[in-house]
Structures are given as structure tokens and as C-alpha cells.
């Protein structure tokens, strides 16, 4: 639309055009109905609707927010999800239990190892088998390494959201070192697909252990360096303190879990309250805060990283020797070398790969783990076939994002990105 046209000329020109787009049609209808001035009657009491995302660098993925603004303060927020919806729950119903493991990597793509572990634990409950001691210890370490990797990304990106770029580079250097360790442990850096039902894909080598020890020794000073950059920075504190407050009652009622709930003064951690794997035998604290703002969530996560380092050191000390796969030939994939040389193993491998593991008919199981972002749960229902009848993924980011409108009430425009950053959403998980 060129500016020198009058309204009547524009309507005529658009009508004469051979084809018009949907948006042009809308403009045409608005112009013809003559209701264009409806929104601008009062000068001081009009609300602005601001559309943020899905293509926006500060929304951590394809999250769309429709924010209604009064001047500079937020009146209401509507998060729009579904831009990354791939239908994993439907896909899971059409593949064997093993085939779904690579898909769990793509849920929370910042900590794929924890997703692998959570899924496999749920399926093992369904099959009523348990992993060996060594496998359980390695899995515990996997969960903690995934937590560290995820929290480092969060720390960098959240600092970047409020304007501190250097922290991002420093925490990513540390994360890169974890990914290198994962490379040795699992064979890949990112989409690990490491766990197997009843065991693990590979054993943890001595080199991997040595690398992990070396990493832990230098990690805390590096973390302190990054903390020093922002924690005494007046701009960072002012942008975080008192922003994005949510009351304890609301936090509980909205179903928040993980660091977001612990920052609201509720010391709930599934590692302590409903222990899985080897957390019963480990000694660690659960950091909490009561302020329930962006800064409180920052401190809870940072303190969690110290606890994680403590946990990893204990795991390294206690890691026992032994097999990594449960000796249950009907349910656990046999060793590749034996598949090529022995008849029995070849038959079992063929059956498990082609027809899947077979739980009893009508069995249901739920297993939740404390992932980096909160409770990650899998509810599996079996009907006795080689694939799940129903697999429900309880993803922490989804429910945590549900609290966004409450946190956003009364915030300023510039606080929006800080609040999103403090929730730490991953859209791969929220959209499933």
C-alpha cells in the first residue's frame, strides 16, 4: 500500500487485484466496516497487544507469548505452545520400547542423558527387572552430568538475557568439557541414546573416569569466576531482584517442580523424597530459597551445581566393578560379540529387535526422576505387546511454563526475558 492513496482508492485497488492474501482481505474488511478508529478512543487507557516470538532469540526456542501491555507494564500474558509439537506420545505407541530411546534425546535436548535414564527406568518397572549395581551407579552419574550441562547452559543464557554476554562464553567452555567426557562415555556428544533396557550401551572406561576427575578438580574455580562476573554486578542484581515473584501457594497450586518450586520455599526434591537409583546412599543437600524471584531461582540453581559436583565425586569413589547388563536373556539385548558367535543370543537379539520386549498384559508403571528442570515422569501402560499401549510424558518445562502468566503480572517489558530465562524452559520438552 503506497502512502499517497486515499482509503477509497486503496479499497478499489485491492478489489481489482487478481488475487489478494488473507491479511489483505482482513485489512479490506476492517476498512470497509469503517471501524478502524475503534481502538484509539481514549488516549491514556488503551492497551497494546505485543506479540513476542516464536522467532525471538530470548524466548529459548519456539515459545510464543501474546502480551497485553498497559504502557510499559504487563497486564496479561498468554503463552502459545505447539510450534515444536512432534507427537512423540503417538509415535511411541507405534514402535518398540528400544526404538523410542533415541526420541527421548529430543525431549529436553540440553540434558539428553537424564531423559534416557528416566525413560528406561519406567520401562524397567513395567518389565519388572532391575539394572545391575554398576549400571545404576553409572546412571546416577549420567543424571548428575546432565544436570550440570543443563544448568551451565541456563546460567549463560539467563545472564545473556539480562545483558551479560561474557558469562555465556565462559559457561559454554565448561559445558564443552562435559560434552567431551560424554563423547568418551557414550560415543556421541549430544544425542546420546546411551541407556538400554536392563543396562547400558557401553561401559564406563578408566579414561572417562580420569577425565571426569580432572574436570571436577578445575570446575569450581571456573564457576566462581563466572559467578564473580555477575553476582556483584549492580545491573544484574537490579534486573533480577524482586522480579517475577510467585507466592508459595500459587507455586504449589500451579504444579511447579524442581528449582522453581524450591526457590519458592518448598524443599521438594525427588532424589530425597522418593529416591530412585542410588541416591539413598549418597550424601547431599537440597538448596532452597524463600524469596521466589528471579534472583532466588538463580541462587538455587547455582548452589545445586556445587551439590552436583559433590555427588559426582561420591559416585566416582563408590563405583563398583561388575557387569553392566542384567542377565535376563528374554528382556535385555545380548552383547554384540555373542550375537555373531552364539545361536541362543542371536535368537534373543532377533526377537527383541523385531518384536520388542514383552511386559505382562495390563501392567502400568510410573517413574519420575528429578531432571534439571523438575519432575520428568513417564507413565507407561502395556497391553502385552512389544510396544507401549500408552506412554505419557510428564515434562517439567510444560507445567513450569503454565506459571508464566502468574509470574508476569505487573512486570515491565524488559523483565519478560529475565522471567522466561529464570523458568529455564526447553521447548522440545514442553511441546513433546
Amino acid at each position: 500500500m503506497s502512502l499517497d492513496l486515499t482509503k477509497e482508492e486503496y479499497i478499489q485497488e485491492t478489489k481489482d487485484a487478481s488475487h489478494i492474501s488473507m491479511s489483505q482481505e482482513k485489512i479490506l474488511r476492517a476498512l470497509e466496516s469503517d471501524d478502524v478508529r475503534g481502538h484509539f478512543e481514549g488516549t491514556l487507557d488503551n492497551q497494546l497487544i505485543l506479540n513476542m516470538g516464536p522467532q525471538h532469540p530470548a524466548t529459548h526456542g519456539v515459545l510464543q507469548l501474546v502480551v497485553s501491555l498497559d504502557g510499559e507494564s504487563v497486564v496479561g500474558t498468554i503463552p502459545v505452545l505447539g510450534y515444536l509439537h512432534r507427537g512423540y506420545e503417538k509415535l511411541a505407541e507405534n514402535m518398540t520400547f528400544h526404538e523410542f530411546i533415541p526420541h527421548t534425546d529430543r525431549l529436553d535436548y540440553l540434558s539428553p542423558l537424564a531423559n534416557n535414564v528416566g525413560y528406561v527406568l519406567a520401562i524397567e518397572k513395567l518389565l519388572k527387572i532391575e539394572a545391575t549395581e554398576r549400571a545404576q551407579w553409572i546412571r546416577t552419574m549420567c543424571c548428575e552430568m546432565a544436570r550440570l550441562a543443563s544448568h551451565l547452559v541456563w546460567m549463560g543464557s539467563m545472564a545473556m538475557d539480562v545483558g551479560a554476554l561474557t558469562v555465556f562464553l565462559w559457561t559454554f567452555t565448561e559445558r564443552e568439557k562435559i560434552l567431551d567426557i560424554l563423547d568418551i562415555l557414550t560415543g556421541v556428544r549430544f544425542t546420546t541414546s546411551y541407556t538400554r533396557i536392563g543396562g547400558l550401551a557401553l561401559d564406563m572406561s578408566d579414561e572417562c573416569k580420569a577425565r571426569l576427575v580432572a574436570f571436577l578438580d578445575q570446575f569450581i574455580p571456573k564457576l566462581e569466576n563466572a559467578r564473580n562476573l555477575i553476582e556483584r554486578n549492580k545491573i544484574f542484581i537490579n534486573r533480577c531482584e524482586g522480579v517475577g515473584y510467585i507466592s508459595k501457594e500459587d507455586a504449589m497450586s500451579l504444579g511447579l517442580t524442581g528449582p522453581n518450586l524450591r526457590a519458592a520455599g518448598v524443599g521438594n526434591d525427588l532424589r530425597v523424597d522418593d529416591p530412585y537409583l542410588k541416591y539413598r546412599e549418597l550424601d547431599f543437600n537440597v538448596p532452597t530459597a524463600t524469596e521466589s524471584d528471579v534472583l532466588a531461582r538463580y541462587y538455587v540453581r547455582v548452589r545445586e551445581m556445587y551439590e552436583t559436583v559433590k555427588l559426582l565425586r561420591q559416585c566416582l569413589q563408590k563405583l563398583p566393578k561388575g557387569p553392566i547388563n542384567t542377565p535376563d536373556a528374554k528382556q535385555v539385548l545380548p552383547d554384540k560379540g555373542e550375537v555373531y558367535s552364539k545361536m541362543e543370543e542371536l535368537i534373543h537379539d532377533f526377537m527383541i529387535v523385531n518384536f520388542g520386549n514383552t511386559p505382562e498384559k495390563g501392567v502400568e508403571a510410573y517413574q519420575a526422576i528429578e531432571a534439571a528442570k523438575g519432575e520428568l515422569g513417564f507413565y507407561a501402560i502395556s497391553d502385552g505387546k512389544g510396544y507401549p499401549f500408552r506412554l505419557k510424558i510428564r515434562s517439567p518445562s510444560f507445567t513450569n511454563l503454565g506459571a508464566l502468566p502468574t509470574m508476569m503480572k505487573g512486570a515491565m517489558i524488559s523483565d519478560i526475558v529475565a522471567i522466561i530465562g529464570s523458568i529455564d524452559p526447553v521447548m522440545g520438552e514442553a511441546d513433546k
Partner: protein, 161 residues
Amino acid sequence: MAELIEKIKEKLSEANGFNGLVFTQNINYPMIEVPKERLLEVCKILRDEFQVEQLRDLVSVDRFTKNERFECIYNLYSLTHSTRMFIRVRLESKNPEVDSLWPVWQSANWTEREAWDMMGIKFIGHPDLRRMYMMEEYEYHPLRKDYPLMGLPGAVTLPKK
């Protein structure tokens, strides 16, 4: 954990006028089967008298049977007692409807929207029952067992050029 469940059993017994409730241990956590008419009442009692503060998730299931095809499984968590429990409601096949739990727990808002989008279960009294993932003009509910894995051709209307 076991004490809390015993107390709940006592409160929701037939002596107090609660008929048709079944306590099972079908999965690895305690589960209560509730007739759908009593769901809201039972949940209010659980929250107010037994400190069940959180509704963490809602699992919708399509059993694909002739009667009572749909199911809702509520995943509840008590922070005070560190106890998880489940509530199961069976819904009819033709027109699955159940009371919304939004007045009890706010998190029901999004989880019920997801169940409506994916399974087509209607929640009576929900403040804002829009679709969660799919677009609003989409007519189907993809997680139902009669919906094909590859999708339906022509189900998504593309903007005309």
C-alpha cells in the same frame, strides 16, 4: 506414606457415604478409582484435609473398548507427606465429559487443555478450554486410537495463495 493412605481410606469409606470407590495397587503407587460424579468432591477433600497440594499431571487414555472407552488418570502429589497417589476416572465412549479440577488445582488448566486437544475429553467448568498444541480449527484428536499415525490428508487447511 502408608499411614496417609490408610487415613484416606478411612475417610472415603462407605460408612461416610462414599460408594463405588476402589483402592488398588495396580501400579507402583496407590491408586483410587472414583466414579466421575464424585471426582470434584473427593479432590477437594484430598486437598483440604490431607494436604495433597499438587496436581502434577493428567494422563488421558483411550482403551478402545465399546463401553467406558476413555480414562483420566490424575497424578497427585502431597508435598507435606512426600507422597504420590493416582486417581482414575472412567468415562463413557460416546461423549467423554468430566468435571474440571481447575477450582481445586490451578495446574489443571493446562493439563486439561492438553487432554482435550489430544484425546477429546471435555472438561465441564474449565475457564479456557482451547487446544494446547494443535491449531484451533483442527477437527481431530490425534492421540485417539482410531486416528492414523500418518495423519489425515486435508486435515490441515493451508492459507490460500
